[in-house]
């Protein structure tokens, strides 16, 4: 076999391997398996309230989300679900300065972050003996887009302080509602 055909077979094989890699099934092992980290997240994102009125909790959550600028996307009271989202500015002065400096140095424009979509997902469920308590879980996440409208970041918001603050507001609102004027 001469060098030419050897190269040709080699490159054909390479192309074949690349094509195969392109359609190979990706493993989703980590996505649908409960991990200890996921369970730890659940702890941070869940609180129990001493009430039997699950609907009232959902109503209060809806009002609270509305108070904090969210729009309700989907709800199903019978299943204890509420999802909401809001779009906000994601401009970061430090990032703009850094990207601008790099763009000038490299001569290639790097688009900085501009918009973000924040999402909230609330679930409630009766817990405890005879359903005397209601557990509320909320999850926040955000997607960030740059000035070209490209998705640059997609992240779960995992700061425990955020959740703490949400539940503090919720218990305050529930207390107020309980003492309706």
């Amino acid at each position: 076999m001469d060098m030419g055909s050897f190269l040709r077979i080699g490159s054909a094989l390479l192309a074949g391997v690349l094509l195969l890699a392109g359609c190979a099934a990706v493993t989703l092992d980590k996505d649908l398996n409960l991990t200890p980290e996921m369970l730890a997240q659940r702890q941070v994102q869940t609180r129990r309230f001493d009430t039997t009125d699950e609907q009232k909790i959902l109503r209060t959550c809806a009002a609270l989300l509305q108070d904090t600028g969210f729009n309700i996307d989907e709800s199903e009271t019978k299943l204890g679900i509420l999802t909401a989202s809001k779009e906000r500015d994601a401009t970061d002065a430090v990032q703009w300065a850094t990207y601008l400096a790099i763009s000038v140095l490299l001569g290639v424009p790097i688009p900085p972050d501009k918009d973000q979509v924040m999402k909230a997902f609330v679930t409630t469920r009766p817990v405890g003996t005879e359903g005397r308590q209601v557990a509320v879980r909320v999850v926040f996440e955000r997607a960030v887009f740059d000035t070209d409208g490209r998705l640059t970041k997609m992240e779960a918001l995992n700061d425990p302080k955020m959740y703490q603050s949400f539940f503090e507001k919720l218990s305050k609102a529930l207390f107020l509602e309980a003492h309706d004027f």
Partner: protein
Amino acid sequence: MTSDRLKRNVLLLIPLLLLLAACATTHDRLLDMDTSQVQLRSIQSRAFDTTDKEKTMRAIIATLQDLGFMLDRADYTLGVVAASKARADSMQMQVAASLRVTVTVRPRGEKQLLVRCNAEYLRSPVTDAKPYQNFFNSLEKAMFLEAHQVD
């Protein structure tokens, strides 16, 4: 070019074309029929010994939330829950939700509920058995019930 060489070149092209054909992702995607439907249905379904639809749907939603999914739709009457999850590869692909699932609940006989989960990852259906196994393992824990394989 000698005919011998030409033949060799054509022979090299054939496997490449076959590979391309294997990943063809256009026309007949509307009614995906590439895997045996019966086999796929059995991979995606499990039966639970309960008739409590509400409890089952709540367990499905709780499991999806545990797994880091965001809810897209839920309808009690239809018994449908749709959710999606962002993954690190979302950014390269420019899709906000790279892993999407639809879970349906419906009665199976008098004493059971059938739960079926369909997953889609980066715009193609998930036909592997393992991810579904993982999902039902997680769901079993939330249901406190065993998931039975059905044919």
